[in-house]
Amino acid sequence: MKVYRLRIAVQFVCFILLVYGGLFLIDLGSRLPTFSCAYMDDRGGGCFFIGFQHMMNRPLGEFLGDAGIRLLKALGIFALWAVVLNKAWCGWVCPFGFLQDMMTKLRTFIGVDVSRFAWMTRTRYKSVKYILLVLMILIPLGMANSVFGLPTLPRDWSVAFCQICPARLILPIFNGDFSQIYVDFSGSVRMILTSLGVILTGLFFTTAFVKRRFLCSYCPMLAALSLFDKIGLTSLKKNGQRCTRCGNCSRACPMEIREIEEEKTLSNLVTQDCTLCLRCVEVCPEDKALQATFCGVPIFTATQEGFLKRQGLPGENKTEKEV
């Protein structure tokens, strides 16, 4: 099985479903743990974050009442989605992730080499996604609540994350809507946030020719999903004894995760940056060293034979023998 082909097919279907689903009256709700941007008119389901930011914009006291119940319900639906597919939302569903993978295809097609972060740089930037996630909780709270009598944050901070999110600028384009590409000069906060959005969109196009899935490393959705790494039904397992630490997995990993190669004792290898794209399992040449599971049942296992097949063998070998 060539998993990357299957993955592209699934990503493509999900892309159509999430970007154009509305045209076919499909609605998967607005609590999806993936960047199915709510600014898309024809969307088939909406990103969790926009609603979440609105819901957090409440005086603390209100969370004891209706607002709290609404929030818990939203979080519950989000958690349910997250537990079932785990990070596969990133690797297999996310339309923005799919676009980045397509840019990677373009890069390899024109023959530009991928570059990698130095190990320390990679480690240093790991916290960015968590910081963004925490800010996404604190900023809306700060708009509705005053801390130590300080003034609350102005309205310009409303859906601050959406203002910087490059998916808001890019995904609506697929619905023929270019109106999100702007810098808002109505206030300094808005100007800075929307400018950041434009800059990140620029980075989306430029970094694609340097790195794989550059923006995913900083995505707060990845951070939110990583809270379910241990309990997710979809999982990635490793058998340390069978691993030779050949490094094929970490070299092919679009997220440059080193643990997948280094770890010899842990069995659950869904690490914080893992997107469950399963590229590591594809390039693993050791029998049963890596394994993707769903509810504990293996769904994709590394084998010597499968490895060589995916490397384009022994197709020709067989014909040689027959001749």
């Binding site: 130095a118 630490r245 040449p285 034979e305």
Partner: protein
């Protein structure tokens, strides 16, 4: 008598001795019943050693010979540049005597033997190499380059010892790139994307057959002797990957047939043993020969000259030249279980996996006198195996045939303990 004449005579002496050794080995083999027929292809390669190694290495289309030592030199690059790799690691007692002139007494017999073949025209492919890539793996190999320089066009390759370090990996990748440039200079062929991809496929095809062979050795019936298993992998030192793969495919077909017919080269309940430790190269087959004469079943080995040689695979990811070079660099460095590396984890897990897969009952740990890296790991390995309920016998020896009888006694006693253990 002038030095030239002296050298010629010495070369002749080694040639005659080596021819005798090789003939004796194959005469004894001929008497063996139930040996796979397709071993004949591999025998031919080693039988050329009686005649200066003429025809051991295929030299079609005037391909330049690139000599390699250890298992760190990527032959994919050599094939891609239109060269023919030949691994020069040697196991001949007859040439160690010559090597002793250049190296200290405590040096391991392997480097002595290699030095002997480099200094004297005994086996032609040692003199025919246009480039000899020598990784600075152990201390002996590190200094051998300088000692060998006047006899061979040596290119030293720096070896990192700590696989877990980022700097090590970057350094090794740049060494691989330097090697590529050197090979290109020698052959005059530029390694491009298509040629490199093809070369990787060539080796991967050989690995398909190696994997098959490895799986065959897991069977209950010992369908091939451990010595023959050493021989087929040893033949890969000299042969072109394509011809080797074809011969291997035929042998594997025959062996799979044997599994179906339960044709074993040992008695049904023979003790299942594994060999590991310092490399064993033709004609240094004394230990496997003794084991099998005593009725033991050699079902696995973990040598850089055998099982480890073709196991690990290059994984092409994005497919650019740089991507492939990176993949090649990783393949030759990271999964290698050679004890020159600081870590012992990879080797330990590999041994345990082999013990499990091949249902090994006892391990024979071979160290060559002067082979410090393997010697250093003896204790750790012994403890590891003991903790897993597998007895280990340590044998320290060299290439000399003098201690064969003594070895026989020790191995026999070891095998008796194993049979005793079986009875409980």
């Amino acid at each position: 008598m002038d030095a030239q004449e002296k050298r010629r005579r010495l070369a002749n002496k080694v040639k005659v001795n080596l021819a005798m050794t090789v003939r004796e080995i194959f005469d004894a083999i001929e008497d063996e019943p139930s040996r796979p027929q397709n071993m004949a292809y591999f025998d031919r390669i080693f039988k050329t050693f009686t005649d200066g190694g003429k025809g051991a290495v295929p030299r079609e289309e005037g391909r330049k010979l690139i000599g390699t030592y250890c298992l760190f030199v990527p032959e994919e690059i050599i094939y891609a540049a239109g060269g023919q790799p030949v691994r020069l690691c040697a196991g001949s007692y007859d040439s160690t005597e010559v090597g002793e002139e250049f190296l200290p007494d405590v040096a391991c017999p392997m480097v002595k033997s290699e030095m002997g073949f480099s200094a004297l025209p005994v086996l032609s492919f040692y003199q025919d190499c246009s480039l000899v890539a020598l990784p600075a793996s152990c201390d002996w190999k590190t200094k051998m380059g300088a000692i060998m320089e006047e006899h061979a066009p040596v290119m030293m390759m720096d070896m990192p010892r700590i696989k877990e370090s980022e700097a090590s990996r970057e350094m090794w990748l740049s060494e691989i790139k330097r090697f590529k440039r050197e090979v290109e200079k020698v052959t005059g062929v530029k390694v491009n994307r298509r040629r490199l991809r093809e070369a990787i496929r060539l080796v991967q095809r050989a690995q398909v057959e190696f994997d098959r062979f490895h799986a065959i050795r897991k069977a209950d019936a010992t369908v091939i002797s451990g010595r023959d298993a050493l021989e087929v992998l040893n033949a890969y030192f000299y042969d072109h990957a394509e011809s080797w793969t074809a011969a291997m495919s035929l042998l594997n077909d025959e062996l799979e047939e044997r599994i179906r017919n339960k044709t074993s080269v040992t008695k049904p309940k023979a003790v299942r043993l594994m060999l590991t430790g310092s490399p064993m190269v033709f004609p240094n087959w004394k230990i496997p020969t003794v084991i099998e004469e005593l009725g033991g079943a050699l079902v696995a080995d973990e040598f850089c000259t055998s099982n480890r040689y073709l196991h690990d695979k290059v994984a092409v990811d994005e497919g650019s030249v740089n991507d492939m070079l990176h993949a090649i660099a990783d393949r030759y460095l990271l999964p290698c279980t050679c004890p020159i590396f600081s870590t012992t984890v990879d080797r330990r897990d590999r041994l345990l996996q082999l013990v499990e897969d091949h249902r090994v009952e006892g391990v024979i740990y071979h160290t060559l006198k002067g082979c410090h890296p393997y010697d250093l790991e003896t204790k750790l390995t012994e403890t590891l195996l003991r903790d897993n309920g597998i007895p280990m016998l340590r044998i320290e020896t060299d290439y000399s045939p003098q201690d064969v009888e003594q070895l026989r006694t020790r191995i026999e006693a070891f095998m008796e303990t194993l049979t005793g253990k079986r009875r409980g």
